[in-house]
């Protein structure tokens, strides 16, 4: 029997983590044990999460495929669906259609130095790949993480940051936009801090995700540092409904962000019409 692409798997929220004033993280398991056992995905792939009665919205699976106790979604409260999701608690039922879309080119990144540049909720997709790489540490060269947010209280995953800072096999830099009492890390906008850290473009790949304005200036900074278009990977966002390239709203020319994306290299983006 052909799979129904619109019928979600029922899932149970196991744990809710309040990350910031407007971001919550949901750890969920599929109710069907077989479906959960057989669930496989690649870092960067997304899912349609639904609250029945309100609707669906797209979120990246931000737990890595190497840690399958649960699937994790981080949700920034923005519209109707995200507001509804924020009202849910452990034990509540949601729908999940996943995995959807393409993934980070993590195979091509093997043997390379990796530079992660994440801003705000844009850290979510990077977290998947970062943890996947840390779980397969020998496959990758030097890993650098620059994670920025407006202020310390806007920083998601605060409970893991110390671990990331402490690790010998990961160079972590945290930054906030303006000075804040007690903050012991960098202060400054992400693109500027990136220029200070100045990772070598040599045998590197940079992966960046964040708000549009941050992406814009981060791309400029990476270019200044000598990163070529093929060495820069980012993820796009669009309004999506079906998630499988049918309903027709997330296309940029011939590319459907839900199906051909959300992950694109800067070189690929340059081939697309200008309609971000």
């Amino acid at each position: 029997m052909t799979k129904n692409i619109y019928l979600p798997e029922m899932a149970t929220i196991q744990e809710v983590i309040r990350e910031t004033h407007n971001i919550m993280t949901f750890r969920v398991t599929l109710n069907n044990p077989e479906a959960m056992k057989n669930f496989s995905f690649k870092p960067g792939q997304v899912g349609q999460v639904s609250s029945f009665g309100t609707g669906e919205a797209t979120f990246v699976i931000n737990s890595p495929p190497t840690r399958m106790d649960y699937l994790q979604f981080s949700v920034m409260r923005t519209g109707e669906v995200t507001s509804k999701l924020h009202s849910l608690k452990a034990g509540d039922q949601i729908g999940v259609r996943a995995p959807l879309g393409n993934s980070f080119p993590y195979e091509d990144m093997k043997g390379k130095d990796i530079v992660f540049v994440g801003g705000g909720i844009g850290m979510a997709p990077l977290r998947t790949l970062l943890l996947f790489m840390l779980d397969n540490r020998a496959d990758y060269g030097k890993i650098t993480l620059l994670y920025g947010a407006r202020s310390p209280v806007d920083m998601a995953y605060s409970y893991e940051l110390q671990d990331w800072l402490d690790r010998d096999d990961l160079d972590t830099y945290l930054t906030i936009d303006a000075p804040y009492e007690g903050w012991q890390h960098k202060v400054g906008l992400i693109p500027n801090v990136l220029l200070d850290i100045a990772p070598s473009p040599g045998n590197s790949v940079a992966i960046t995700c964040g708000p549009p304005i941050m992406i814009k200036f981060t791309l400029q900074a990476l270019e200044k540092l000598g990163f070529k278009d093929e060495q820069i990977v980012t993820t796009l966002e669009k309004r999506m409904k079906c998630g499988v390239g049918i309903c027709g709203r997330c296309n940029i020319g011939t590319s459907y962000v839900c199906m051909d994306g959300p992950v694109f290299t800067r070189a690929q983006l340059r081939q697309l019409p200008n309609e971000l």
Binding site: T2, K3, N4, I5, Y6, L7, P8, M10, S50, F52, G53, T54, G55, E56, A57, T78, G79, T82, G91, D92, Q93, G95, P212, E237, K238, R239, K241, C242, V244, G245, I246, C247, G248, R249, C250, N251, I252, G253, T254, M259, P273, N274, E275, L276
Partner: protein
């Protein structure tokens, strides 16, 4: 070999009445001033001398259809817990559409490449498509909005149909196109039509000869991309647009949809409904950002999708069947043919040194 039968004009309604015993039958009849595909009714006059106001799109792709039924139930052990049961609801039964035009039936082949692709199968669409048969009427009169010959079709094109009916002076020659169509041609009201085949072929040739000169649209995909960033071009061609969406709703090949939830007490449903790319909400993101903020951006995507992106993805096939409804029904008089031709002929102004 195709089965060839003949039916006298007076026997059409009795034949449809026969078919209606096994299938839901739709045929064009007037609803006020609109000529629509409506459930067949012996009492109603069937209008076959002009193309319907709306194509029979909803017979395979309903304006709104249920994808999922869900119910909430309280957990008796823990009343703060709500259990949700979600079930798919697949369409059942078979449908025969009588009097569709070649452009109407061919429109579904544009859907097929997307809804029944090797990547994904839309099982709701698949169920209806498989069980909806088209007895398509070749066109004897060509309107000035018709341009099926620009998009690799013609007034006797059987693509996407199950039976092709060619109007003759005393009745219709019925040629089966598909196996399922052949099964529809077993009525005692039909007689062998092979002897009239030559006459019918001649009629088709005459009609094809009477349609306006064709245009070569092979440059459209590249040329539309070439004017993508020229917003002055798009602002000019969209200046009259009211963003009403009539062009999308009346289009046999427009297949975009929205998914929404509705609830009523402890029950609810997830619906799929026709959507309209000419509306600002279509691409509006929750953040307030809109990648297609003006009607110029939206018309650009509509024309671009049909004449550039879709052909680029699907082996050169233009996602327009040339029915001309978007031209005829546009309250502002926008003509998609003019836009495509203008893009093809567009020469960027020479840059002054």
């Amino acid at each position: 070999m195709a089965k060839v039968q003949f039916i006298k004009s007076a026997d059409v309604k009795p034949w449809l009445a026969e078919l209606a015993k096994e299938h839901r039958v739709f045929a064009p009849s007037y609803d006020g001033e609109a000529l629509l595909f409506r459930p067949f009714d012996l009492e109603q006059e069937i209008i076959l001398d002009r193309a319907a106001t709306m194509p029979p799109k909803k017979t395979v792709f309903p304006q709104s259809e249920k994808l999922v039924d869900f119910t909430y139930s309280k957990d008796p052990e823990n009343l703060s817990r709500v259990k949700i049961d979600a079930r798919e609801t697949l369409p059942e039964g078979s449908t025969v559409v009588f009097g569709s035009r070649p452009c109407d039936a061919r429109g579904f082949t544009m859907f097929d490449r997307v809804y029944l692709s090797d990547k994904n199968t839309d099982i709701y669409y698949q169920a209806r498509r498989k069980n909806t048969l088209f007895i398509t009427l070749a066109c004897r009169t060509i309107e000035n909005t018709c341009f099926c010959n620009w998009v690799d079709s013609d007034p006797c094109d059987p693509t996407g149909s199950d039976v092709l009916a060619i109007p003759m002076n005393d009745g219709y020659l019925l040629e089966s196109v598909s196996e399922q169509g052949e099964k529809l041609l077993n009525s005692k009201l039909l007689a062998d039509g092979s002897s009239r085949k030559v006459e019918a072929d001649k009629i088709c040739q005459e009609i094809a000869g009477s349609i306006n000169n064709t245009k070569d649209l092979s440059q459209a995909p590249a040329k539309l991309l070439a004017v993508f960033d020229n917003m002055q071009f798009w602002e000019e061609v969209s200046a009259k647009c009211l963003s009403c969406g009539a062009c999308t709703y009346l289009c046999p090949s427009c297949y975009c949809f929205n998914i929404t939830d509705e609830t009523n007490g402890m029950k609810g449903k997830r619906l799929r409904s026709w959507d309209n790319c000419m509306s600002a909400q279509f691409t509006m993101e929750a953040s307030g950002h809109n990648p297609r903020p003006t009607k110029a951006h939206r018309l650009k995507n509509r024309v671009g999708h049909k004449f550039s992106y879709y052909p680029t993805i699907h082996g050169g096939v233009i996602s327009c069947c040339g029915c001309g409804r978007c031209i005829k029904s546009c309250p502002a008089g926008i003509d998609i043919r003019e836009i495509v031709l203008k893009a093809i002929d567009f020469e960027p102004a020479a840059v002054e040194e």
